[in-house]
Amino acid sequence: MEISWKKYAYTFLITAVIFITAIYLSNYFSQKKINEIKNIESRIAVDILASETQFSLLSELSCRDIGSSFLSKELATLGDKLAYTEQNRGSDDAEVLNLKKYYSLLQIKDFLLMQKIKERCGSNQANNGLSIMYFYSNEGDCADCEKEGFVLTKLRSDYPELRVYSFDYNLDLSALQTLVSVYNIENKLPAILINDKVYYGFKSIDDMKVALPFLVELDKQKAKAEAEAEALKAKQATSSTP
């Protein structure tokens, strides 16, 4: 029985070429995604720098000029994309680690900027001073971190004005370690920092509302606005009826 070794070799070559092309394409798109994250990060960095500069000029700037656009809106998008990349490339990936460090720094800067606005203009500016700082670990030592993630994602989607800063507790970043020591956050994760107070362990949406009563206020405002809209609709319907 004849064997065409040449054909075996050609087939191997074709398969290898297909595989190498697939590897190349995958790397190409992966790099494109990393670049997209880098672009977002640099846009946020510029935003923060611009806001900081604006803030330094506050003597000439009235507090009421600080609108909702003062703080970057892309932090949440960046967080989501980074989490997705981390999931795909692994948390040990050097590029992912660098992006994560930069992201953490940007979050700290954003947080500090928000604190400054709060101090000088009171909590009614920018985003009403609504913020949560969340410390997690993905080294398998935090059973409730996954659940806490669901809670914070839900809160962020229900209250777009809420700024959620999430930090990998084990990230090797001196600024982050300083933040941890400043607020005296222990390695009992998940840990949540709200208005300078640290909460440990899983906190449900209701627990969060207790810690951040302004969220309840927002619920009331939303319900009121909805009721008014309904009433207006009903009024329009009756007036248009002959």
């Binding site: 075996y8 050609y10 590897i23 394409l25 997705y84």
Partner: protein, 411 residues
């Protein structure tokens, strides 16, 4: 752990793609060669042929099978039909009595002993040049025998296999099997080009009578005697060919249970015969059969199981995650917004894409071979969607049966 499973996935994907590329290269290489050489469509001379129809409780289907044989376009004095009642307990024997006076048909009866015993029993009475078998759930195309016999003009050809199609496929299961059988026509063609056919299907494979004299009759072979005889022939360097336009129509199982039982018997039989003939694997003296086709067949069972396992594992994982999310924050509907960033661009996606394109090419090619009107059909779509979900059901059980020495039954 993640690295190990990822590496296994890539190795399996590479091998699967290698096999697919190898089949496609082989098909197009030999098809072009075949087109250049003159095709033998009709036999120059008509050798004597005997067809054995083993029957066991087939009172409802046997008549159709016999009538289709009688309608074969082949000289009547050269064609004999041997109907062997393998100890039926229904009216089969009574039903076939209407042919008792037909000179072309011989009726034989014996105690029940299984299909292979019925075939061997009939072989004792046969001295024709060629001999074949037709299961009582199958029908033949009138030109099938002529087309097959023409292939025996090659003096080295010892057996010729036909193309099996589903008779009047009904329902989703019928359509899935229709596409599967058509896919099989392509594979059988490629295997014949490679001289690596390892199954001579029960429906209408024709052998030289001398084959049985030289290597003996059929064996029990774990209820897959049609695979064992082909393996034995290959081991003895006997050439097996294929005629893709010699169509046989077989009645497919109509429900999942009968399909499951049939496939369990096939896969179990394949694994057991593969173990019995393990000496042929990766041995160059058995040509492409030993080096590629048999290892590829074994690999297909293992890879299907692996991918199915991975798929189920990932489904369970995402289900658990969704349950956790709902129990934590309740049910919430997230609006859909497309962002290219979240499109999966892993290596596996691109390789799978190429593999799917290859599979589509095989489907289109096989439909051409099967003389189907359309190059793609609903059956092809159903096959692509559901076959990989169905096959692991009987494969898992077959592997279990082999490991724990559980035997399969015919019905």
């Amino acid at each position: 752990m993640h690295l190990i499973s990822e590496s296994i996935t890539y190795v399996i994907l590479f091998v699967a793609l290698y096999i697919e590329v190898f089949f496609l290269i082989t098909y197009f290489e030999f098809r072009d060669k075949e087109n250049k050489t003159e095709k033998i469509i009709l036999p120059v001379k008509y050798p004597s042929v005997s067809i054995i129809v083993p029957v066991w409780n087939e009172e409802t289907t046997v008549l159709k099978t016999i009538f289709s044989l009688l309608k074969l376009n082949y000289p009547k004095d050269k064609l004999s039909i041997y109907i062997v009642d393998d100890g039926s307990i229904d009216n089969t024997w009574k039903v076939i009595q209407r042919f008792s006076k037909n000179k072309q048909i011989k009726l034989l009866r014996k105690e029940n002993g299984g299909k292979y015993t019925a075939l061997n029993y009939a072989l004792e009475f046969i001295d024709s040049d060629l001999v074949g078998c037709l299961d009582a759930d199958s029908l033949v195309h009138p030109e099938a025998l002529k087309r097959i016999v023409a292939k025996f003009e090659d003096s080295e050809m010892m057996a010729v296999t036909p193309s099996v199609k589903i008779f009047e496929p009904k329902g989703i299961l019928g359509l899935i099997q229709k596409a599967e059988y058509i896919f099989g026509i392509f594979l059988r063609k490629v295997f014949s080009y490679l001289n690596a056919l390892y199954i001579t299907p029960g429906p209408f494979s024709i052998f030289r009578r001398s084959v049985f004299r030289e290597i003996g009759g059929y064996k029990h072979a774990h209820n897959t005697e049609d695979m064992e005889i082909a393996m034995r022939m290959q081991k003895n360097n006997m050439k097996i060919g294929n005629v893709h336009n010699a169509f046989i129509y077989t009645i497919a199982p109509t429900n999942l249970i009968t399909l499951y039982k049939q496939r369990l018997r096939w896969v179990y039989g394949f694994i057991k015969n593969a173990i019995d003939y393990r000496g042929m694997f990766f041995r160059p003296q058995y040509g492409n059969l030993g080096m590629v086709i048999l290892p590829a067949a074994g690999f297909s069972v293992l890879s299907t199981m692996y991918f199915f396992g991975s798929m189920v594992f990932s489904w369970i994982n995402s289900l658990v995650l969704t349950i956790k999310e709902i129990s934590t924050v309740g049910l919430s509907f997230k609006g859909f917004s497309f962002d290219f960033f979240y499109v999966n661009t892993d290596i596996i996606v691109f390789v799978s894409f190429i593999a799917i394109v290859g599979t589509l090419l095989i489907i289109v090619t096989s439909r051409g071979l099967a003389e189907e009107k359309n190059i793609f059909g609903v059956d092809s779509v159903l096959f692509l969607m559901f076959y990989t979900l169905l096959a692991p059901i009987w494969m898992t059980k077959a592997i279990y049966n082999v490991v724990f020495s559980q035997k399969t039954k015919w019905r």
